[in-house]
């Protein structure tokens, strides 16, 4: 297989232009899917026979939880690439993905809590999935904390890559152990582990919102990456001409 396209894309400069071209697509198409999914889910999907209308928060909650996990994996892979191949784009990705992922994890936690109030009667339950999202959130915060603590960028890149990679290796272990822990000691008050048998008109909008939120998050991450690339490459000629073109 020919990898030259990959190497070309992995150069900060060409990625900058690539992402600049595609961010609009990601943001707009993602937003479109999101809106369609949400409107469909909120206005047209049938009521849940158990939970009534409160279940509709699922159209934000589940996508957020899924994107939060997906972004951590992406970030961990970028960290791996950075440590092994020292690609210049990788630390940019780690730095940019962390806050977006943290945001999504926070969104999942908040919407989950809001949902928990009417269904369980409490804001919080030490359920396996909930706990693992909380841990995910804390791991994101750890990486953000490293970037904020060190003002030497080279150092903070290296260190956050180490932490992200360790986290990636541990993620399945954490997930597994939390699942195991919860099912042994505390039979879940409300089981999240079984796939709800949804009718398709509930399930399809969910798929829309998941894909939509993914695309929007990627778009946001791209924008962040562009700023970081400009900052890191500010001494190069192409950035200088880019800046003079803009202003």
């Amino acid at each position: 297989m020919n990898w030259s396209w990959f190497h070309r894309l992995a150069a900060p400069k060409s990625f900058y232009y690539f992402s600049k071209r595609w961010e609009v697509f990601f943001l707009c198409f993602g937003a479109l899917l999101l809106i369609v999914g949400v409107v469909w889910g909120l206005a047209f999907a049938p009521q849940d026979y158990l939970q009534g209308n409160s279940f509709r928060i699922i159209y934000i909650h589940v996508p957020a939880a899924i994107v939060a996990q997906g972004f951590y994996v992406a970030m961990g892979v970028a960290a791996f690439i950075q440590i092994v191949w020292r690609m210049k784009l990788a630390p940019v990705a780690v730095q940019a993905f962390a806050p977006v992922g943290a945001l999504m994890a926070a969104l999942a936690l908040i919407t989950g809590s809001i949902w928990g109030r009417p269904t369980w009667g409490t804001w919080w339950e030490w359920d396996a999935r909930i706990t693992s999202v909380l841990i995910l959130f804390i791991m994101y915060l750890g990486i953000i904390a490293i970037h904020n603590t060190y003002n030497d960028r080279k150092l903070s890149d290296k260190l956050s890559a180490v932490v992200a990679l360790v986290g990636l290796i541990n993620l399945p272990i954490i997930k597994y152990s939390v699942d195991w822990w919860n099912t042994l000691h505390q039979p879940a008050t409300f089981s999240l582990t079984e796939k709800p048998k949804m009718p398709v008109e509930m399930w399809l909008p969910l798929l829309f919102t998941v894909i939509g939120l993914y695309l929007v998050s990627i778009g946001i991450a791209f924008i962040r990456m562009q700023t970081y690339i400009l900052e890191r490459e500010k001494k190069t000629r192409w950035v200088e001409s880019e800046m003079t073109n803009d202003f």
């Binding site: 750890g142 904390a145 490293i146 603590t149 060190y150 180490v162 986290g167 290796i169 954490i174």
Partner: protein
């Protein structure tokens, strides 16, 4: 400078800094003491919680014990000297962590029975608790070492370190307390012990490597 001379010096420092060892153990005792005093001292409340409390305290104390394990090496240039003398940073790290663990676990095991009494730990679980500590704490130390290496340039990096390390601690905490609870129910906890050993193996290989990456970066 050889592996031997470095680890010999490390042992000497460990003996010289009896104080530091005493501190992290005192911390352990303090955490355990705070709990009955701050929450509730009734045996019916404490007994089922006791091994969990001991484990929580061990987690916190192990982080404290490793905080700053590399800080001095970095600021006095020792890490440069290891590399100049052809020592693999990863192996030195492993040796240092091992020494810390030994100086930590031995007195801890002496303390645990007393803490167990204080927390009304059922006597039948004493041995299981000790055994779980023996198997689980090396992994905690290796994980904490990663956190310590990432925060080695920070003057007070203890807190950041804890933030990084605790999510990694949870599986160990879950399975070792799970083991004790299984014994309490009379179920054999072989599965948990096997898992704990598997964790140990994984961290044994990975942690020194990660530590060496971040220490080298910090020494630039």
């Amino acid at each position: 400078m050889t592996y031997f001379s470095v680890l010999q010096a490390e042992c000497r420092l460990a003996l010289r800094r009896k104080q530091d060892i005493a501190n992290s153990l005192l911390f352990f005792v303090v955490v355990i003491m705070l709990f009955p005093i701050g929450v509730s001292a009734s045996p019916s409340f404490l007994a089922p919680a006791s091994s969990g409390i001991i484990w929580c305290a061990a987690c916190l104390a192990s982080m404290l014990a490793l905080d700053g394990i590399f800080r001095e090496d970095l600021s006095d240039g020792s890490i440069d000297q290891w590399r100049i003398n052809g020592l693999m940073v990863a192996f030195v790290v492993l040796g240092k962590v091992l020494i810390r663990w030994v100086t930590f676990i031995v007195p801890l095991l002496v303390l645990v029975p007393f803490c167990g009494f204080a927390l009304s730990l059922p006597p039948s679980l004493m041995l299981d608790t000790i055994f779980s500590l023996l198997v689980g704490t090396p992994t905690l130390f290796l994980l904490a070492a990663i956190g310590a290496s990432v925060t080695a340039t920070l003057r007070n990096g203890a807190v950041l370190m804890i933030l990084i390390v605790v999510p990694l601690y949870l599986p160990v905490l879950i399975f070792s307390t799970g083991y004790v609870k299984a014994s309490d129910l009379g179920v054999p906890g072989n599965g948990q012990i096997a898992l704990l050993l598997a964790f140990l193996l994984v961290t044994l290989v990975l942690s020194p490597f990660f530590c060496s990456v971040s220490l080298k970066a910090s020494a630039e």
